[in-house]
């Protein structure tokens, strides 16, 4: 694979970024690194969702896969002493199995559009309820923590939260892996098949595309990526809760992040993660700092950022349905043609 | 002043111009047919008159009232009722519910019972099937229901779009009888048809449309005798 020079520069910049952060914000580097790490981890998860979302398979259930990734890994570590090095692959297998179990019959029955979205919504609720129901292990709705191993830095336990520099490079590698998967899919024959069936399933079937099989493949891959992302996220946060890593709310965040960035292009979901993280952090800082708003709303001021987030999402979908990157690219193309 | 007047009307879909510089008039109490080949713009013409498709240019008026400035749902209140191509009944509503929707205009609601009696008198079959879902009836019955629905608003002018499409020959004959009947009852009728001989036998006048233009017009007997119609549409 030939590397585009622009990508090489971008990659070099990403490698240099943590050092730059350390140099520029010597006292508060942990905080800034934390934001960037979260961004990268969510970017990988959004990319995983967009892998199938871009072909018209809109799942509202990917919170189930991140949840399974996180919980299976942590449960195996906490209760069976199994290293996440094995636990994460097991979690991925479980997530893929669920994806196939739900995907196969629904693709066979041609459940699409609204119905597919609502079906996957039921799936994520089922998974969340199971997590809450198994509270003896999972801590119920309060969540739980992976047992700390030594000083919190361990390859064996896949724990790296204590050192933000290591954590950054782990997150970068995870994100990069996600991007590579995207590129592989983008350059494969499957992409054409999926694009065809995304537009017209009957026509795609008529020209010999195995619709169910193609959909299953991309669904399994997407679930695997999100489970992997969920597991790493749990290892980084050192906390898992049904509402932070599983459930309907998480699903919606994934979908919106990806859609805001643009699901049709490689870096769309990543830009979506950048945008949503910066937005919520920025708004939070702004609102916490505002004396007037604090006087008006007290601690409730924090929900203002969600409010603005909601408004922006609506505006995005009405006015920029292709997302930030998609719209920018379209504008750029028109501009180039015009000049 | 004629009841319905069109002057230089143009209309189309996207870049495609389906109607070009159409001028025509319908007088009170007349029945007028618009004939022409497939794609001549007949359906488009009716859609423009009832406001379903905005005209791109020209003047359109009903009893002197400008139709172009009216939104589609206001056209019915000028007295123009449109029986669309393929009937477009509400399939999972009963016959009587369909008829009731024909009387949706507040002015028509008050006279609902009286008009319902008139329609049932015209189509006894509809009365027998009044509680049946419209979508479960035969093609001919559905056409009756569609015409009945249009009559429910108490219109002055009825636009009929290919009422004979997909019907058995016997039923087609009944439909044309009906056209004569409602004209005799005082309604003005503008009908679009491909069944040239049969429609020309029941209407007073006709326009021949070809590729979006009026090619010929006149009394139906004259049109029927004309070379253009005989050659192209009757294959003589």
């Amino acid at each position: 694979m030939k590397l585009n020079p622009a990508y090489a520069v971008g990659l070099a910049a990403l490698v240099a970024l943590p050092f730059a952060i350390r140099a520029v914000f010597p006292g508060s580097e942990k905080y800034y690194l934390h934001i960037v790490i979260q961004m990268l981890l969510w970017a990988q998860i959004y990319t995983g969702w967009a892998l199938m979302g871009r072909f018209g398979l809109t799942s509202l259930g990917h919170g189930a896969f991140t949840g399974i990734g996180a919980y299976v890994t942590v449960m195996l570590w906490n209760f069976a002493g199994l290293t996440p090095l094995i636990g994460i692959p097991v979690a991925i297998v479980v997530a893929v199995a669920l994806a196939l179990l739900i995907g196969y019959p629904s693709f066979l029955q041609r459940i699409r559009g609204h119905y597919f979205a609502l079906l996957t919504l039921a799936m994520v609720e089922f998974v969340r309820l199971c997590i809450v129901g198994l509270r003896d292990f999972t801590g119920g709705s309060l969540g739980t923590q992976p047992a700390r191993y030594g000083d919190g830095i361990s390859f064996y336990a896949v724990q790296f939260e204590a050192d933000r520099m290591i954590a950054y490079f782990v997150a970068l590698a995870v994100w990069l892996a996600g991007i590579l998967v995207w590129v592989r899919v983008d350059r494969s024959m499957d992409r054409f098949a999926l694009e065809a069936l995304g537009q017209d399933e009957e026509a795609a079937a008529a020209v010999g595309i195995n619709v169910t099989r193609e959909k299953l493949k991309i669904t399994a891959l997407s679930a695997a990526m999100c489970a992997f992302g969920g597991a790493i996220f749990a290892q980084y946060q050192m906390y898992i809760g049904p509402d932070t890593i599983a459930g309907f709310g998480v699903s919606l965040n994934i979908v919106f992040g990806a859609v805001a960035g643009g699901i049709g292009v490689m870096l769309g979901p990543t830009i979506g993660a950048l945008f949503t993280q910066l937005l919520s952090e920025g708004l939070r800082m702004f609102f916490q700092g505002s004396v007037t708003l604090n006087a008006m709303f007290g601690s409730r001021v924090l929900s203002l950022d969600t409010l603005i987030y909601g408004v922006l999402l609506v505006l995005f979908i009405i006015h920029m349905p292709r997302g930030i990157v998609g719209t920018a690219m379209e504008y750029w193309r028109k501009h180039k043609r015009g000049s | 002043m004629s009841m319905l007047e069109l002057h230089g009307v143009c209309a189309g879909y996207g870049g495609f111009r389906a109607l070009n510089d159409i001028s025509m008039a319908v007088e009170v109490g007349e029945s007028v047919a618009v004939i022409g080949a497939n794609g001549a713009g007949k359906t488009t013409l009716l859609r423009v008159i009832s406001g379903m498709l905005p005209a791109a240019a020209g003047r359109l008026s009903m009893e002197g009232q400008d139709l172009r400035t009216l939104p589609a749902h206001k056209v019915l209140s000028t007295g123009i009722a449109h029986v669309p191509e393929n009937r477009h009944l509400f399939p999972r509503l009963t016959v009587e519910q369909n008829l009731r929707l024909g009387a949706f205009l507040p002015s028509a609601r008050a006279r609902f019972p009286e008009r319902l009696d008139y329609v049932y008198g015209l189509f006894p079959r509809l009365k027998e099937r009044r509680l049946q879902f419209a979508g479960t009836m035969s093609g001919g019955e559905q056409q009756m229901c569609a015409i009945g629905r249009a009559l429910m608003s108490g219109p002055k002018l009825i636009l009929l779009d290919e009422p004979s499409t997909g019907l058995a020959p016997v039923v087609v004959q009944q439909v044309f009888e009906l056209v004569r009947k409602i004209r005799d009852d005082g309604y003005t009728v503008l009908i679009v048809e491909q069944n040239v001989t049969q429609v020309l036998a029941v209407v007073d006048r006709a326009y021949l449309l070809s590729v979006g233009r009026v090619e010929m017009s006149g009394r139906s007997a004259d049109l029927l005798a004309s070379e253009a119609v005989q050659k192209t549409y009757l294959g003589l």
């Binding site: 979205a117 609502l118 129901g133 309907f248 409010l307 609506v314 | 509400f90």
Partner: protein, 290 residues
Amino acid sequence: MTCSLDIFFLEAVLNGILLAGLLALLSLGLNLVFGVVDVVWICYAELVMIGMYAIFFAYSTLDLPLPLAMLIGITFTALLGVALHMIVIRPLLDAAPINQLLATGGVLFLLQAAATLAFGIEFRNIGVHLGSASLGDMFFSWGRIITFSVALATMLGLRYFLRHSYLGLAILALSQDRHVMPLMGADSRRLYAATSALGGGLAGLGAALMVLQFDIYPQIGLQFGPLIFMVCVLGGLGNMLGGFVAALVIAQFITIGSSCFATEWGYAIAFLFFILMMFIRPQGLLGARS
């Protein structure tokens, strides 16, 4: 609690029937909008939540009589329904269905945040306790009994309205053929707005019944929202009788499951049942196979 065919089981079954009333009522408005406008209001449960807060505010803060407070709540959500349609749905009427769904998801966040901003995350309760009725050794809360009765009456009322009034018929007709409506002299835009008002108002009615039984908090919509969608889809789109049957079935899974195991398991079983039914009968419980 053990699961056996004793009086507890019977009580669970009867309570399930009463719970079904609430679910059926809540799904009614969503079903109407889903069936007529062909849009899923993912934020429907949040409309209910806002309605609950509106009633709470009018009753507990403004000290208005409860029926008036409920009326205010219903009016408020009806207006919200219209606003939702005009501001969010109308620009997206011809967009991909999934974009409509996502846009209402944005509204979900917005409404939750607005509620938090105004009332905080504390649990609120209007503090009206209606007590329980006893039947032999079994107890049923009056709140549930009233809810069930109102749900039944509303369903019949809505059915009558849709079949016998001009506006109702036009709304039904709109769901079957939206393009021909102008030929009936009906303005589709106004009919959509009316449908949305009705959908929103039904959410408000649901809220008025829920405040009798439940605490109010900003996240409550996420708790029962997915359940309402299930009832709607399982009943078959726009099929109100189907919705009622689906509500009965789902509620039985929940109450029996909850009384045999724990509450979450009752819900989990209900969701599992829904998923399986989607595979077996994608057209809904009562739908005919097309």
